[in-house]
């Protein structure tokens, strides 16, 4: 038994905001009440800390199987635990692609053997994510996938997307699309705009994303399926999502910490740590994303944790792979950019990390008796500096190396066990 004393419990599910004790018994929460007395229980003093339901990251890349020089399930989930995540959903673009039940089972076995947090795989929509034939989605669902996506690339055609949406609707799975019109991307490496012009780097127009979002919205209308927009990055895309929701469609979206924090103007030195896909957007897009996070149009914050080894990033800007690591800085960035600036409440932020992603996956997240004993304890005041060299990830590709933060994760509890504590 583990007794968490004197924490400020913030639970979006029940709207609880009070200093309470939380008693964990095995992998379940036994009791949430003031002044719990539990002789024999291990005690964790949470005075001054926030106690929230375990954070879920709907979008990450753990690189296993196939690219264990970039990340493994073990190192990736250790980084996730340090970021306050109790569950991470890993994208299927591994080598081989997670497009069949045996790869799914392999991932889950590796996770059972060495993961710090829960790993919920996302299956490929098409075989090899090649956009031709449907993957074994039902078999993968029985093996344990929670959603499908061809992430890394968009679901190739509107016709295939329609099939996947119809099929997943019947299976009760959300379809996550990396929304991008690849013909408009045309070898682009950053957002098209004044900065790409100045740097002489090939630009990707914002509409490369919003056109694909619009396609997904219309297919959602046609099929009635659940369409989820991965790493939404610009205003026009958000407007398509808002309109779809107003029409009662099942369309959801996520935003990454780097997109609500950084802009394309920062790409002034050809530093490949600023290269990600979707690319960093304009200031007005960034502000639109923050507004969407505040008004409820955005459902959740997802990291798109995308580790890359140093050698593959230490190249010419246009030859570097897209992506940055994100687990360990996500919460601190959300506090710094959204909460401390009074753009959203602390409760809303927690929702974006907990009940938000849970709703998309059709599950519950709560700090309540009987719920899973997955909790994230964090501080809103702790002063610390993120050092990429100290990251638990195998990779160091982050523009936030050396960033000073106020507030961040303090302890992560999965199934009643403290998997990480600052």
């Amino acid at each position: 038994m583990l007794l968490i004393k004197n924490g400020r419990v913030l639970d979006p599910a029940s709207k609880t905001d009070a200093v309470l004790d939380v008693l964990l018994d095995g992998d379940r929460i036994a009791q949430v009440a003031p002044g719990i007395n539990a002789p024999g229980a291990e005690v964790l003093d949470a005075s001054g800390l926030i106690v929230a339901p375990g954070f879920t990251d709907l979008h990450c890349h753990l690189r296993e199987p196939g690219e264990d020089f970039k990340e493994t399930i073990e190192t990736g989930t250790r980084a996730a635990a340090r970021g306050g995540f109790t569950t991470v959903c890993c994208m299927p673009n591994t080598k081989p692609v997670n497009d069949n039940a045996s790869v799914t089972r392999g991932i889950l076995e590796r996770a059972a053997a060495g993961a710090s947090v829960r790993v919920w795989p996302i299956g490929a929509a098409s075989l090899g994510s090649k956009g031709e034939a449907l993957a074994e989605i039902a078999a993968m669902k029985s093996a344990g996938i929670v959603a499908v996506s061809d992430d890394g690339r968009p679901i190739a055609s509107a016709k295939l997307l329609r099939q996947v949406m119809d099929y997943c609707n019947s299976l009760g799975l959300p379809v996550i699309d990396h929304c991008e019109d690849t013909s408009l991307v045309g070898g682009g490496v950053m957002r098209e705009g004044p900065t790409s012009m100045r740097m002489g780097l090939r630009g990707i127009p914002a509409c490369a994303e919003s056109i694909a979002v619009s396609r997904g919205v219309q297919i959602a209308e046609l099929t009635g399926g659940h369409f989820h927009v991965a790493h939404l990055s610009c205003r026009e895309s958000l407007e398509h999502v808002r309109a779809a929701r107003a029409d009662g469609l099942r369309v959801t979206c996520e935003v990454t910490p780097h997109h609500f924090t950084l802009t394309d103007e920062l790409i002034t030195t050809y530093d490949t740590r600023f290269k990600m896909n979707p690319p960093l957007a304009s200031r007005s897009d960034r502000d639109a994303l923050i507004a969407g996070l505040a008004d409820g149009s955005v459902d959740c914050i997802a990291t798109d944790h995308a580790p890359h080894d140093a050698a593959s990033k230490d190249v010419e800007f246009d030859k570097a792979p897209f992506g940055i690591i994100g687990f360990e800085t996500a919460l601190a960035l959300a506090l710094g950019k959204l909460v401390h600036t009074n753009r959203i409440s602390l409760m809303r932020m927690i929702e974006l990390f907990t009940t938000g992603p849970a709703r998309i996956l059709g599950i519950k997240r709560a700090v309540a008796a009987g719920a899973a004993a997955d909790l994230t304890l964090f501080s809103t005041t702790h002063q610390w500096t993120f050092r990429a060299a100290d990251s638990a990830s195998k990779s160091r590709n982050t523009p936030f190396d050396g960033a000073a933060f106020t507030g961040g994760p303090m302890a992560t509890i999965v199934a009643g066990k403290i998997v990480w504590k600052r």
Partner: protein, 322 residues
């Protein structure tokens, strides 16, 4: 004024004073081009690495000749024989070159920012001889000295640039350089090579307007720069060559619409009958050959400035600050 930089990565980070200083320092080297004996021993014992990852003939020969006229040796790495084709990373190739102890590296690369990236890994000066669609600083400097010779000034010129502006590093460097001297640019070319963001490139005190009609574009020009049509770029987006010639070739009739004092420049290699009419290429207003000669002077000056003096740690790296 002394040389406050250690690299030449682009024109953008230079001040007007830096540019004027480089141009002044190019003057003595301009004279040397007319000497019966053009070879100096100034940089005897120094080695210039010419790393042309993207094939180039004229710029490579110009830098090689500049080095040789200063008495320096050069080592040559060419795209065709490059180990890059065998899959070696840029940084490994450059470190291998560096291990042969050159005193500076002149590089051309098809990736924008490649010299900025390389510079972070090396102690020796890096001279950008063209990076992707970003900058070609020595071209802008040689153009500037050519303009100074012909027009006697750099300030507040009306400069018309015709062609594929979007993909042109020559245009970008010239906009940076002449823009710092208050130029008013008229950019002219097919609409898909003339996006509105180009207007944001104008340095403070200069202006950029986009014009699709060449007759309007040349009307008030002091300087008309004709860009090379890179045929490989015609594929994206596909633009029929005949349309380009019809709409944008600089013909004698079109040049006549410009003031008679206007000069015509071309960075080369020039394709007569495509972007420029042969009559214009050879007319008295054309200064394409002066550009080539001045290229030697400017490159000699830069080599002298960067490796001719004492080794000085305090020199500031001229790349955008982190």
């Amino acid at each position: 004024m002394s040389c406050r930089f250690h690299h030449l990565l682009g024109i953008e980070p230079l001040t007007r004073e830096d540019i004027s200083f480089i141009l002044e320092q190019s003057r003595p080297f301009q004279e040397i081009q007319s000497h019966p004996l053009k070879k100096l021993a100034t940089l005897r014992g120094k080695t210039v690495a010419l790393a042309f990852f993207e094939s180039s003939t004229r710029t490579r020969i110009s830098f090689g000749t500049a080095a040789s006229r200063l008495g320096a040796d050069s080592m040559n790495l060419q795209a065709e024989s490059s180990s890059l084709r065998k899959g070696e990373s840029l940084i490994d190739t450059v470190k291998t070159l560096d291990a042969m102890k050159p005193d500076c590296i002149v590089m051309r690369h098809s990736s924008s920012g490649a010299p900025h990236f390389v510079q972070q890994h090396l102690q020796i000066p890096v001279i950008n001889a063209g990076d992707g669609t970003h900058e070609h600083p020595t071209q802008a400097l040689l153009d500037a000295i050519t303009i100074l010779d012909r027009k006697g000034r750099l300030d507040h010129l009306n400069v018309t640039i015709i062609g594929d502006i979007l993909h042109s590093r020559v245009a970008r460097s010239n906009i940076q350089l002449l823009g710092k001297f208050g130029a008013h640019f008229t950019l002219c070319g097919p609409a898909m090579w003339l996006p509105s963001e180009l207007e944001t490139l104008a340095p403070l005190g200069s202006s950029i307007r986009r014009v699709s009609n060449i007759e309007d574009a040349v009307r008030d020009a002091d300087v008309v720069m004709v860009l090379r049509v890179q045929q490989e770029r015609l594929h994206e987006p596909a633009l029929p060559l005949d349309d380009y010639i019809l709409l944008y070739q600089l013909t004698p009739e079109r040049l006549r619409l410009a003031p008679s004092h206007a000069i015509v420049m071309h960075p080369g290699p020039m394709i007569r009958g495509l972007e420029i009419d042969p009559v214009v290429a050879d007319c008295p207003q054309s200064c394409v050959l002066e550009q080539v000669t001045n290229g030697l002077a400017v490159r000699m000056a830069l080599l002298f400035l960067l490796i001719g003096g004492p080794h000085d740690e305090s020199k500031e790296a001229l790349h955008a600050a982190d």
